[in-house]
Each structure stands twice: as structure tokens, then as C-alpha cells.
């Protein structure tokens, strides 16, 4: 089956245009309803913009900050980069999963006379077509780092090819463990990728100088680049890092087992009936099962009868249903926030969380995730001296989920043919949302500070720096996270609405200079040894955030953007 009949589409378009041209009324109406497409900045474009801007600056900051181009600085950069690539590989697997089990197209195919194997084929093509930001990020990162480190461009192409092949093989093998779908010969494909990669490897080894250039950096490029690093370290100077191999293996086994379990639970129809997967519903928000989910017989399951009904009525009379919003303050984070926030703020917080908050649980989970990150970075720090700063930033990012926590209320719901943030359905204002999110994130940052300081101290000692240096780096990171909060909240408020679309030109004009100043301030914060400059930098970042936030409020008040957008925010992402 062909998804598109290009000739037919072309012909229909031609006929429609002719009809419009022949009728003044239709022409007028066409002009009235025509919308320009170019003004909106897609979230993917924004993402790419950030990456393109930040990556070279990261490298630059490392090099300048350490005084001279150093192998250690670049090693640190590559270590973080490899971790990011690992996440990317898992994300691609998630995308594959979405294509077959959660994609909106499946709903359409379910109502068309299309064979399941056709549906599978179409979705496979869709998965392959999904644009990958990796196509930009890897070359940029490689270009900058190999050039700055004195490596020639000849090292670049084989490195890229090797990275791409190993990436593809990793994704295939993870898919195999996760799904074992009979339609895709994952292992054969992975074997094919690995064979080509091995051929390339042999060629590089035999080609002398090029191989030497290549091996300076290429071992960081696959998703588990730090394993390669550990191997190399083990081969060159000992075997103490080789145990790190167990971590990705364990992650793959656990991840694969969990995905398999999810697959069995969600994909209830045996065989190959992808097109009528019964649990499909549009994935509007992360945890939201969707606004359009089909009714199932489960709706009738567990329906109370007779005496149970009386009990239910009594429960309503006791106002138990209103208590479902009450906070559980036996946990420390909620306990502190319950005393800090006023009654209205607590209500707003509950609406933004979609019920009683579970901040303590989120924080503890983040601690576990950062502990793993810290262990990995601590081992790397043995030979990567300048890892302290990047380590602190990275751990802070993991520790404070995406630096801003998770809020259900910022997720989107389908309203008519567009998407609207969940909080828009309730009488709360932006002026009420800001202080609540800020206070919660402030406490989150302060609570994370001791963990970060401890980590900073440990990694600094490991990297041959002073303890004081580690503490300062950690405290600077905490300060930066707090100073960034107004920007983060403004981005959240406008991001789940049409804030990026309507005042697009203003955003474009205003954002870039502010961003550059902010990045300059961020760089100064870490590069400078002076306390005064550090405080000034933090103040600049905070002032920029306040300016962005006030602009966001003003634009909203003036009706320059709406609590509506054309796309659900959760569906966009890297890759």
C-alpha cells in the first residue's frame, strides 16, 4: 500500500487552485483563512539551535578555562558526550516503541482496509525517516574537538562512520532484547552493522597515521564510549575500570526486561495485529493515558452494587472525595513545603501536580540516578582533571529532574483540534503559578546542594584539585540553577502554550542577545576565580531570567500568545 498518491494529490491541488482562481468569493475566502507556516519556531529547531550554540561554547569554555588546549579537558567533554549518546540510544528505542504501539497513525490504519504487515512496513519506514539531531550534533562535536585538539579532518569521517555503525547496532540489539518482534531480524542487522564497523576498524589499524589520529577520540563515540575508555585504560595501565562493563549490561538487561513486560501488558492482542492494538490512545502528556482513549468493557468492571453503593454514598457524604487533594505531609519535602506555602499556593501546587505532590519520592529517585552518575564520573576523574565543573553541572541536571522538576499541570490536553496546558482548565493565573514553582524548585536546589558539594569535593580530590575547588564548583552550580529558575519557568509557561509561535519575531530578536549575554555570564561564573565576578554573573543570569519572565507575563496579558498550541509539547524531543 502507498500512503501517498503523488499524482492524484498534484492533480487535485491543480483542480482546487483552478476552482479558487475562477471564483472571486473563493479567492477571498482562501486569502482570509490562509496561514503562514514559516513564523513558528518548532521545538526541534530550538533544540538544534541550543545544541549548535552550546557545544562549541562548551569546548571553548573548557579550553580557555583551563588555560590551554588540553587532552584532559576534551576527555571530560567526551565523557559527558558519551553519556548523552547513551541516553540518545535508549531514546531511539523508545521512539521505535511509540511507532508500533502508541502512534496516532495506528488509529487511522485501524479504520482502513490495510493488512497488518503493511502497517508494520509503513511504521518501520516512519521510524527510519524520523529526523535525528545526531546528524548535526556528532559532526559538530567532532569537528570542534578534533580541530582544537590538533587532530586532522581525516580522523573525522572514519570516526563518524564508526560511530553511526556502532549506534545502529546498539539500537538493534536493545530492540531485540526489548521486543523480539519477528518482523525485524534485529540480530542479523546488528551483526551486519558490526561487520562493517569491524572492517573499518581493521582498515584504520592498518593505515598507520590516520589510525593514530582516529584512536585519540573515536573510542568515546559509541553510546557506551566510557566503556571503551575503561577498556583502553585497562589495556594501557590496569584493569580497575573494566568492571564498569557490568553497568551497561545490567542496564540493558533490566531495561529490556521492563520493556518486555510493558509490551506484554499493553500489546494484548496476540499475533501481528498492530493496526488494532486495543490500548492505543494519543500520548498527550507523559503520564496521561489520553483524552481519546477508547471505552472498554473495563468501565463496567468493578462497578459497585447494592450495599456497596450505599457505602459509596456515605463516603461522599463524609467528603472523602475532597480529601483526595490533601497533602501527605509525613514525608519531609511535602512537610516543609506545607509550612512554607499558603493555602492558595498549596491548592495551585496540587493542581500543577495533578493531585497531592510526591516531591520526596521524586527527589529520592533523583538521588539514586545521580549516585550512579557520580560513581561513573568519579572513576573517570582519575585522569580527567577538569571534570569537576562539568561533573557538577551534569549531576545537578540529573539530580533536579531537568533542572525544574516534573509538573503534570504543564502537560497538554487535547481541546478541539489543538492542545492546551492542563492548568488552563482551572482558574489559576500565571502570577500564582510562578511563586509556587519557584519555591518548590528553590527548596529542591537547596536540598540538592549538600549532595553536590560532597560530590564536588570527592571528584576534585580524585582529579587532583583542591577540596575548596570542588566546593566552589558545586556551590556555583547550585547558584546557577537557582538564578536560572525565572527563565526555566517562563520557558515552561510559554512552551506549553503558543508562546514560541505568536510573538516569534520578538522571541527571535530578543532571545539571541539575551542568550549570548547569559552564556557569557555563565562562562564568567565558572572561569573566574573572583567571588565578586561570580556574584555579578549570577545576578546577570537572574536579571535576564526576570526580564524574560516579565516579558512572558506581559505578552500573555496582551493576548500575544494563547494557552493553545498545535502540537503537544511532550511529543517533541531530541533525535
Amino acid at each position: 500500500m502507498k500512503r501517498r498518491g503523488r499524482w492524484l494529490e498534484k492533480e487535485l491541488r491543480r483542480r482546487v487552485r483552478r476552482e479558487i482562481a475562477a471564483s472571486p468569493d473563493l479567492k477571498r475566502e482562501y486569502k482570509r483563512v490562509r496561514r503562514s507556516r514559516s513564523r513558528a519556531i518548532s521545538s526541534r529547531a530550538m533544540w538544534m539551535f541550543w545544541v549548535l550554540l552550546v557545544l562549541p561554547l562548551m569546548v571553548w569554555a573548557i579550553l580557555v578555562g583551563r588555560g590551554a588546549p588540553s587532552r584532559n579537558g576534551l576527555e571530560g567533554f567526551h565523557a559527558c558526550f558519551a553519556l548523552w549518546l547513551t541516553g540518545w540510544a535508549f531514546w531511539r528505542v523508545q521512539m521505535f516503541y511509540q511507532c508500533y504501539y502508541w502512534d496516532g497513525d495506528l488509529w487511522i490504519y485501524g479504520h482502513l482496509p490495510v493488512l497488518d504487515r503493511e502497517v508494520f512496513r509503513l511504521q518501520w519506514r516512519k521510524f527510519l525517516r524520523q529526523p535525528s539531531i545526531m546528524l548535526v550534533v556528532v559532526p559538530v562535536a567532532l569537528c570542534v574537538t578534533t580541530t582544537l585538539a590538533g587532530g586532522g579532518w581525516r580522523a573525522l569521517l572514519p570516526a563518524l562512520a564508526f560511530a553511526a555503525l556502532i549506534h545502529a547496532a546498539c539500537v538493534c540489539l536493545t530492540l531485540f532484547i526489548a521486543t523480539r518482534l519477528p518482523q525485524v531480524p534485529h540480530v542479523k542487522i546488528a551483526f551486519g552493522f558490526c561487520s562493517v564497523a569491524a572492517g573499518l576498524f581493521i582498515w584504520l589499524v592498518k593505515s598507520g597515521e590516520v589510525a593514530a589520529e582516529y584512536f585519540r577520540w573515536a573510542y568515546w563515540l559509541p553510546p557506551f564510549g566510557w566503556i571503551n575508555y575503561a577498556f583502553l585504560e585497562g589495556y594501557l595501565g590496569g584493569y580497575h575500570l573494566a568492571w564498569l562493563l557490568l553497568l551497561p549490561v545490567a542496564a540493558m538487561v533490566v531495561g529490556g526486561w521492563r520493556w518486555r513486560a510493558t509490551l506484554e501488558a499493553t500489546y494484548a492482542v496476540p499475533g501481528e495485529m498492530f493496526s488494532i492494538a486495543p490500548t492505543w490512545s494519543p500520548q498527550v502528556t507523559g503520564g496521561d493515558a489520553g483524552q481519546l482513549a477508547m471505552a472498554t468493557d473495563d468501565a463496567r468492571a468493578g462497578v459497585p452494587e447494592g450495599s456497596q453503593m450505599t457505602e459509596l454514598e456515605n463516603s461522599i457524604r463524609r467528603r472523602d472525595f475532597l480529601a483526595s487533594m490533601d497533602w501527605k505531609t509525613e514525608r519531609w519535602f511535602e512537610w516543609v513545603m506545607a509550612r512554607w506555602l499558603g493555602s492558595r499556593e498549596k491548592l495551585v501546587a496540587s493542581l500543577l501536580c495533578g493531585g497531592p505532590p510526591t516531591w520526596t519520592k521524586e527527589f529520592v529517585n533523583a538521588i539514586y540516578a545521580s549516585a550512579v552518575t557520580m560513581i561513573i564520573l568519579w572513576f573517570l576523574a582519575g585522569s580527567v582533571r577538569s571534570l569537576t565543573m562539568w561533573g557538577c553541572i551534569f549531576v545537578a541536571y540529573v539530580l533536579l529532574p531537568a533542572l525544574g522538576g516534573y509538573w503534570r499541570g504543564f502537560g497538554t490536553a487535547l481541546i478541539g483540534s489543538q492542545f492546551s496546558p492542563m492548568y488552563a482548565g482551572f482558574p489559576v493565573s500565571h502570577g500564582e503559578i510562578f511563586p509556587v514553582v519557584f519555591k518548590v524548585n528553590l527548596l529542591r536546589s537547596l536540598a540538592a546542594a549538600p549532595v553536590l558539594v560532597l560530590f564536588g569535593m570527592a571528584i576534585a580530590v580524585r582529579a587532583g584539585e583542591t577540596i575548596q575547588f570542588g566546593i566552589i564548583m558545586a556551590l556555583k552550580t547550585v547558584g546557577l540553577v537557582i538564578a536560572l529558575q525565572p527563565t526555566i519557568i517562563a520557558t515552561r509557561l510559554s512552551g506549553c502554550a503558543s508562546g514560541y509561535q505568536r510573538p516569534a519575531r520578538l522571541w527571535q530578536a530578543g532571545l539571541v542577545p539575551l542568550l549570548l549575554v547569559g552564556l557569557g555570564a555563565g562562562f564568567t561564573l565558572y572561569a573566574s576565580q573572583s567571588l565578586t565576578w561570580a556574584l555579578v554573573s549570577l545576578a546577570i543570569v537572574a536579571i535576564i531570567g526576570v526580564v524574560v519572565l516579565i516579558s512572558c507575563f506581559k505578552w500573555y496579558e496582551r493576548g500575544w500568545f494563547d494557552q493553545l498550541s498545535n502540537k503537544p509539547d511532550e511529543l517533541s524531543g531530541p533525535g
Partner: protein, 244 residues
Amino acid sequence: MKIELQGLTKTFDSLRALDRVRLEIEPGQIVAVVGANGAGKSTLLRCLSGIVGATEGLIFFDQEEFQRDRVDLRRRLMFLPDFPYMFTEKTALEHIGLVLRAYEADQPGVEERVISLLREFDLLAIATQPLNILSRGQRYKSALIALLAIDPELWLLDEPMASGMDPHGINSFKREALAAVRRGRTIIYTTQILELAEKFSDRVCVIHKGEARAFDTASQLKTDASGKAGSLEAIFDQLRGEGG
């Protein structure tokens, strides 16, 4: 609540979804908004609820200018889209509780009202089921019950009759709406069903290409158009034709 729209305009890029709409709606009325697809009906309700900001023009509620961050005014109205805002992992009852809390309408006595509404809309038996396993109509009823329990001064409903509710649910809604109007509530709803707009409204507002082409009682609209048209369908077609 008295509603006054003064030259309300909303543009999306080059599209004028609402074009200098002027309306005055007295309290205690049911207003049916009709119009072709894409005419601007839903945009009008979204502007009134604050989800969408007006590009030009003003909205007044009881002579007070409506601004989107005026929570006190927003608490006096409630907007129910065709797919209501819901955290779908919650039960119908929890959703109702959450909305009551959000509107700070959880005063003593509301529980009896909730029970009677759940019973009236045949939802008592499934009130403790998660919303994500309920049908569309059942979800809509859950959201509607929250609205009825809150009883705001202004009800804004987008296509309530095409929301998946069963005939019993629709009848119950009409009964509740009529009772609310007698208490002075104002109800604005959109519909594509002209017979319904004719029978179940005090005023009909015809929107075409973003303009409010007519705003009057259904009988008055027919009288004005006597000689040219005899039914609301014919008037609707005539108004469309005039606009080109």
C-alpha cells in the same frame, strides 16, 4: 452575569477568527452560538474563558473588564470544551473533588448535590472508576457534574450536545440548565443543531467568518426574515449567502 463584548477581534496570523464582535448578553439567558465549521464559535468561547487572548477589543463581565489573570473573574465562569480538561488516571469522583477545590466551591452541603447529580446522570455506579477507562460520554458527564456542582455564574459549553452524552444525560443537562437560568445564571453554548438552538435558547447568535451576523431570539430572527425565509436553517443559509 452580564456580558459585554466590544469589538472583540482575534487573529491567528492572517486569519481573523473573530472580527469586531459586539454583543451584549443579559444575565439569566441561554445563548446558542451557531455557525459553519471554522466560523469562530469555539474561539469566541475560548476568548470568554481566557484561554485565548483577544487581539483587539474588550470583554466586560458585570461592567468589569476581563483580563486573563483575573482569577476572581475566572472563578465566576467555567468553560467546558468538547474534550474536557482531565487528569485521566483519576476517578470521576476525584476529578469532581479536584475541580470543586480549584474553584473553592467545596463548601458544606456540596456532597449532597454531588450525590444527587451522580444519580441523575447515571454515574454513581462508576464514580470510583478511573476516567481513562470510561467512555467519552461518561467522562463528559463527570466534567459536567463538576460544573453543575460549582454552579458558576457563566457556563461556557462547546458542543455539549455532541459530546457523547446519552439522551438521558442530555435531558438532565437541559433540565439543570433551565433551572440555573431561573437562578440568574448565563449559559452560552455552541451547536451545529439548528432545531436545538431554536428550541433550547433565549437568544441565537449566528457567527459567520468571525462576524456576529445576527443576535436575537429565534422567533425574532424568523420574523425579521419573513418573506425570505421561514426556518432557522433558511436564515442561516441566507446569512451565509450575504457574506459570500
